[in-house]
C-alpha cells in the first residue's frame, strides 16, 4: 500500500508535466492538424532557459526561493513563447496549404534545429539545477511521504490548466480558438484573424511547455538537450490517449499516463516502463482510436 501511494504521487507529479506538454500538442493539432514535432524541444529549451536565468541572475541573489522560482519560470515561458512563434513563422506558416507530409518533415527539421542549437549553446553534457534551488521539505500526508517540490509542481500545473480551461471556454479569444479549430473558413468569415489565432496557440502551448520544462529540471535536476524527444513523445501519447484536439482530454491523458507509467515502474519493471507506455498507446489506437474523450471523426472524402 505504501508503494502504491508513493508511486501514485510520483505519477501525479510526472503526469502533470505530461499534461502541460500535451496541451501544446493538442492545441496545435486541433487548429492545424499538424504534429508539432518541435514542441518537445521547446519544452527542453524551457528547462535550459530556466537553468541559465537561475545561474546568471539568482546564484547569489539572496532572494526568497519562491520569488526566484517564479522569476525563472516566467523568463522561461516568455523566451520559449517567442521561440514558438518564431518556429511557426519560419517552418509552418509557409506550408499551411501544402501536403501533410511536407509539414511533418518541416516539423522534424525544426525539431532537429532546436535540439542541435541547444547542444551548440549549452554543450552536449548534462547540466544540473543546483540543489539549493529545489524546495525539498518532506511531508507526511495520511502516511504518504511527498516533497514540497512535488506539491508545488502539482499546484502550479493545476492552476495553469484551470486558467487555460477558463481562457478557452470563457473569453472571446478562447472562442476564436475554438471556432478556428472547428472550421477555418467559417471562422474567417466571422471576422476571426486565423493568423492571429495560430500565433496565439504558438504562444500558449510553448509557454506551458516551458513551465513544464523548468518543473522537470527542478524535479529531476538533470537536463540534457535530447530530453525533449522522450518527454515530447510521451506527452503526445497522452494527448492521443485523451483524444487529440481535446483540451480536457490532454489533461486527463497526461495524468493517466503518468500514473500508469509510475505504477508500471513500481510493480512490474522500471526498465520496461517506456515500452509499456507505447504498448498501451498501440492498444488504445487499435481499440479506441479517437481517444478517451475525443469524438469520432469521419474521414473526409
Amino acid at each position: 500500500m505504501e508503494i502504491f501511494a508513493e508511486q501514485l504521487m510520483n505519477g501525479l507529479t510526472v503526469g502533470s508535466v505530461y499534461a502541460l506538454v500535451a496541451l501544446g500538442y493538442t492545441m496545435v493539432y486541433g487548429i492545424m492538424r499538424l504534429i508539432n514535432f518541435a514542441h518537445g524541444d521547446l519544452f527542453m529549451l524551457g528547462a535550459y532557459v530556466g537553468f541559465t536565468v537561475l545561474m546568471t541572475f539568482f546564484a547569489q541573489s539572496g532572494l526568497p526561493l519562491w520569488v526566484i522560482l517564479l522569476c525563472i519560470a516566467f523568463a522561461a515561458m516568455a523566451a520559449v513563447a517567442l521561440a514558438g512563434v518564431a518556429v511557426e513563422r519560419a517552418a509552418y506558416r509557409p506550408l499551411r496549404r501544402s501536403h501533410r507530409l511536407t509539414a511533418v518533415v518541416s516539423a522534424l527539421g525544426a525539431s532537429i534545429v532546436l535540439q542541435n542549437g541547444a547542444m551548440l549553446i549549452w554543450g552536449p553534457r548534462y547540466q544540473a539545477y543546483p540543489a539549493w534551488a529545489v524546495p525539498s521539505t518532506r511531508f507526511e500526508v495520511f502516511g504518504v511521504s511527498m516533497t514540497s517540490m512535488q506539491l508545488l509542481i502539482l499546484a502550479i500545473a493545476l492552476v495553469l490548466m484551470v486558467a487555460l480551461y477558463f481562457f478557452v471556454q470563457r473569453t472571446v479569444l478562447g472562442m476564436a480558438i475554438r471556432a478556428t479549430a472547428i472550421d477555418h473558413d467559417t471562422a474567417r468569415l466571422m471576422g476571426i484573424d486565423i493568423d492571429q489565432v495560430i500565433r496565439l496557440v504558438f504562444i500558449i502551448g510553448p509557454a506551458l511547455g516551458a513551465a513544464a520544462g523548468v518543473m522537470i529540471g527542478l524535479y529531476y535536476r538533470q537536463i540534457h538537450f535530447t530530453m525533449g524527444w522522450a518527454y515530447g513523445l510521451k506527452a503526445f501519447t497522452a494527448a492521443i490517449m485523451g483524444g487529440i484536439g481535446n483540451i480536457p482530454g490532454a489533461m486527463l491523458g497526461g495524468f493517466l499516463l503518468g500514473i500508469l507509467e509510475m505504477l508500471g515502474a513500481g510493480y512490474i519493471s522500471s526498465a520496461w516502463k517506456d515500452a509499456m507506455v507505447f504498448v498501451l498507446l498501440i492498444l488504445l489506437l487499435i481499440l479506441r482510436p479517437h481517444g478517451l474523450l475525443g469524438e469520432r471523426v469521419a474521414e473526409k472524402v
Binding site: R97, S106, L108, G109, A110, G117, V279, I282, L285
Partner: protein, 331 residues
Amino acid sequence: MKAGSVFRSPLVRWLALLALAAGMIIFPRAASRYWTDVAVFFGIYVILGLSLNLIVGEVGLFNMGHAAFFAIGAYTTAILSTQYGIPLAWLWPISAAAAGLFAYVITRPIIHLRGDYLLMVTIGLNEIIRIALINDPGGLTGGSNGLFVIDRLRIFGWTVSTPTDFFYLVWGFIAVLVVVLLRLQNSRIGRAWNYVREDEIAAASMGVDVRWAKTLAFTLGAALAGGAGTLYAAKMRIISPDSFTFWESVILFAIVILGGMGSIPGVIVAAGALMVLPEVLRDFMEYRMLFFGVAMVLMMIFRPQGLWPSRRWAQELAQDAAEAKSAPAER
C-alpha cells in the same frame, strides 16, 4: 533540342548507364579503403531508403519506425549466427523473412490507421524494439553492448570480407534491386499502390483491395530492410541498439521525402546527400545536424516535390496546390 530531352534518347541513356557501371566497377580500385567503406554504408542506406520508399513513397503510409525492421534483420542474423552457427548467406533471406513476417503480423491490426496515427504507432514500435534490445530478454540481444558477429559472409565460395568485396556485393545487389523495383513500379501492383496513395476511397471503389495493397507494401519494405540488416551485421560485425534509434528512422524518412516520394533515383541522390556530405564536411561536424535540420525545412518550403521527383508524385503535388488556390476550403 532541350537539355532534358537528350536524356530521353535511348542511346544516350544506355551510354550513361554503361559509363555508370564502368565507374562503379573501377571505383574501389581507384578509391582509398576509407572511401570504399563510405560507399558501402551509402549503399546500405540506399537499400534501406528503397525499402522505406515502398511504404512511404509508393503507398503514402507514414512509417517513422523503419529502423525497427532493420534492427530485427540485424539481430536475427547475429543471434542465429552466434547461437546456432547458421551461415550468414542463408541468414540473409531468413532475416528478411523474419522482418517481413514481423511486419505482417504487427501491421495487420494497425494498417487501417490514417496518417498521423500510423506515424505515432510506428514511432512507438521503434521505441518498443529498441527498449527490448537494451533490456536483453532471455540473454539473447546482449543488452546495450550488443552482439559480436564472428562468422564471415560466404556466397558460393566467395568470402566477403574486405571493403572492396562489400562494395561489389552491396552495389551489385542494388543494381538488381533497382531493376526489380522499376518493373514493380509499372506493374499492376505499383499502379495500385500509387492509386491508394493518391486517393484511397477512389481506389477502393475501383476494385483495388486497399488493405492488401498496404499490407503487401509494409511486408515487402520490412523484408528488404531486414535483409539490409544482415548486410549491416556482416559489415559492422558489432551491432548494438544505438544503431536503431528513432533518429535513424527519421533519417530514412527524410531520405524518401527529400529524394522525392516514390522516386528510385531520388532515394539514391538523397541517401548520397545525407551519407556522403557529412564525410566531406567532417570539419563542421558539430553543425552538421543543424545544417541538416535547416535543409529539411527549406527543402519542404521551396522544393516539396524532392530533389529528383517521380513524375506521378510531382503531378499530385501540383494538383494539390492548384486545388488549394482555386478553393481555399477544408481547413
